[in-house]
């Protein structure tokens, strides 16, 4: 245990004065070993660093998405991602964190006793993370709350009014993200109680956002000219930069979810990396086979799909399990994006459902297949380790999330559409969102 942690414990136990007397110093040490929550500096450093890594994923996502749209809309994507970072941070501080993690009300939602981060300070909260300050846990979770509505942007890109986007995102964070977060991760949440495993947010973040993305694509309708007259991505290099930042940040997302600098974090880190590699490789192979050439966009899409799928499983599976989860993600997401989407005819602009929804569902179910107590005694054995029960629990968590997220997202979109309109005018859509929504251009023509 670190010096600072030891000192703090002594202060807490009031033994500092006693320790000043040489003969009584040992007594002070003994008091320090009492079960009072004790901050570990290594754990705290890692989780703070992880929070920064997860924050970086949102600008990473902005570049990933921004590169894939037409040049007239690049700023609108970057702007929406940054707006989410600012808006949801305030929501989280004022009441979001309390709704998600505050004292439970009937397994459904947290109460408002932590609103404004009242009482969320330097002392650990033993229910969530006993070795790091409560405020560290809170800010780590804040980054998840930010990126989740950010992911949905991919589905309604290039056609949504900025004002409506902001209102919808705030409502969605409050009425969809915060409750589901509470069910799965909050103490007293009913899915947490049912034994569902979600290491770093496969259900809470990816299925949730992916399904809301599908609802957005359906409510907003197709972009003008889709699919015949939509130009290709305006800057794949920008998208690759974004994917690289996502991969990098994901180590904080998954390994940080161990909430400590320990073997579990290391295992999650390793599994995360392996799954991304397997899925990027897998998608390139599928492209090579079906479209005759491996594509850059395919490879980064695959890597992201692999990262999505390993998210719920990262702390529960073996490295070989991570390979299978990654390869599975590339196959299922490829089928959805390349074949099913075209047949179904909806316009999920950047495949937020195809990658995050499908990848998230596969990951959550795969956790029920590949989880092993040998990796994480606090987890459970999956189907392949002789416990079919876990798979059913995972299926239940997936179903509940899919249904709740889709229904409430759909209603919220309809309400915003009815009151303020979701889509920009046809002319504004043709001119582009950068000029019409923000009076800016991403690129100049003349110097």
């Amino acid at each position: 245990m670190s010096r600072a942690g030891g000192l703090l414990s002594k202060v807490l136990s009031g033994s500092v004065l006693l320790a000043l007397i040489p003969g009584l110093a040992r007594a002070g040490e003994a008091v320090a070993a009492s079960p009072i929550p004790k901050i570990d500096t290594g754990d705290t450093a890692w989780v703070l660093m992880s929070a920064a890594l997860v924050l970086l994923m949102t600008p990473g996502l902005a570049f990933f998405y921004g590169g894939l749209v037409r040049r007239k809309n690049v700023l609108s994507l970057l702007m929406q991602c940054f707006m989410i970072a600012c808006l949801i941070t305030l929501q989280w501080v004022l009441f979001g964190y309390s709704l998600a993690f505050g004292p439970d009300w009937k397994g459904i939602i947290g109460d408002l006793s932590w609103a404004g981060l009242r009482g969320v300070g330097g002392a650990p909260n033993g229910d969530y993370a006993a070795t790091i300050p409560h405020s560290t846990f809170m800010i780590f979770q804040a980054m998840f709350a930010i990126i989740t509505p950010g992911l949905i942007i991919g589905a309604f890109a290039e056609r949504m009014k900025f004002s409506s986007f902001a209102v919808f995102s705030l409502l969605w964070a409050t009425l969809v993200y915060d409750p589901i977060c509470h069910w799965v991760w909050g103490v007293g949440g009913f899915l947490r109680g049912a034994g569902a495993l979600d290491f770093a947010g496969g259900t809470v973040v990816h299925i949730n956002a992916g399904v809301a993305a599908l609802a957005s694509a359906l409510v907003l309708g197709k972009r003008l000219g889709y699919p015949q007259r939509i130009s290709p991505p305006h800057s794949l290099p920008l998208a690759v930069l974004g994917a690289g930042l996502l991969w990098f940040g994901w180590f904080g997302f998954n390994a940080g979810s161990a909430l400590g600098a320990n073997g579990l974090a290391s295992g999650a880190f390793v599994a995360t990396h392996i799954a991304a590699a397997a899925a990027g490789f897998g998608w390139a192979g599928l492209d090579w086979f079906f479209a005759k050439r491996p594509t850059m966009l395919g490879m980064i899409t695959g890597a992201v799909a692999g990262l999505v799928a390993i998210t719920p499983a990262a702390g529960f599976v073996t490295p070989m399990g991570a390979i299978w989860i990654g390869l599975g993600a590339s196959v299922f997401c490829y089928l959805m994006v390349s074949l099913a989407k075209a047949k179904l005819g909806y316009d999920d602009t950047l495949d937020a459902f195809g990658v995050h929804g499908i990848g998230g569902i596969w990951g959550a179910l795969a956790t029920g297949l590949f989880a092993s107590k040998a990796i994480n005694p606090a987890g459970a054995d999956g189907l392949f380790f002789g416990n079919p029960g876990l798979f059913l629990v995972q299926l239940k968590a997936v179903t509940v999330t899919v249904v709740y997220s889709f229904v409430v997202s759909y209603i919220l979109l309809k309400v915003v559409d009815f009151t303020m309109g979701l889509r920009v005018s046809q002319q504004d859509e043709q001119i582009g969102l950068d000029l019409t929504q923000h009076r800016e251009s991403g690129y100049t023509v003349l110097q």
Binding site: P227, P233, A291, L297, G298, S338
Partner: protein, 113 residues
């Protein structure tokens, strides 16, 4: 005086510029353009969605020449840009009313060279 406009495949540009230099034709303006002809280009594939690519990337050259240089210019462009495939491009030759060099105010034959 003529204005020669050529639209060629981007990958032939270096060859055409070399051939123009061989004929001592130094002055040329080059722009990236999109265009459509009868040929199909290399189809681009994004997440398995094939872009029909109704507009293809081309390069456009503009060269102002005096009468005696029209033939050498056309020869140089043709020699550099021709592959025999559909889509090699086109050359347009326009009458040019006047040419003025901004620095000196010279006009006509002198200004072009």
């Amino acid at each position: 005086m003529k204005l020669v406009i050529a639209v060629i495949q981007p990958d032939r540009l270096d060859e055409v510029l070399d051939r123009l230099l061989e004929k001592e034709i130094h002055l040329v303006t080059v722009t990236d353009v999109l265009g459509r002809g009868r040929q199909k280009g290399i189809a681009e594939v994004y997440r398995s969605h094939t872009e029909a690519g109704s507009l293809l990337k081309k390069v456009r050259l503009e060269i102002a020449v005096n009468e005696e240089f029209v033939r050498p210019t056309v020869d140089a462009i043709t020699a550099g840009a021709r592959t025999g495939q559909v889509g090699d491009g086109k050359i347009f030759i326009l009458e040019m009313a006047e040419c003025i060099r901004i620095r000196t105010g010279e006009t006509g034959r002198m200004a072009i060279g």
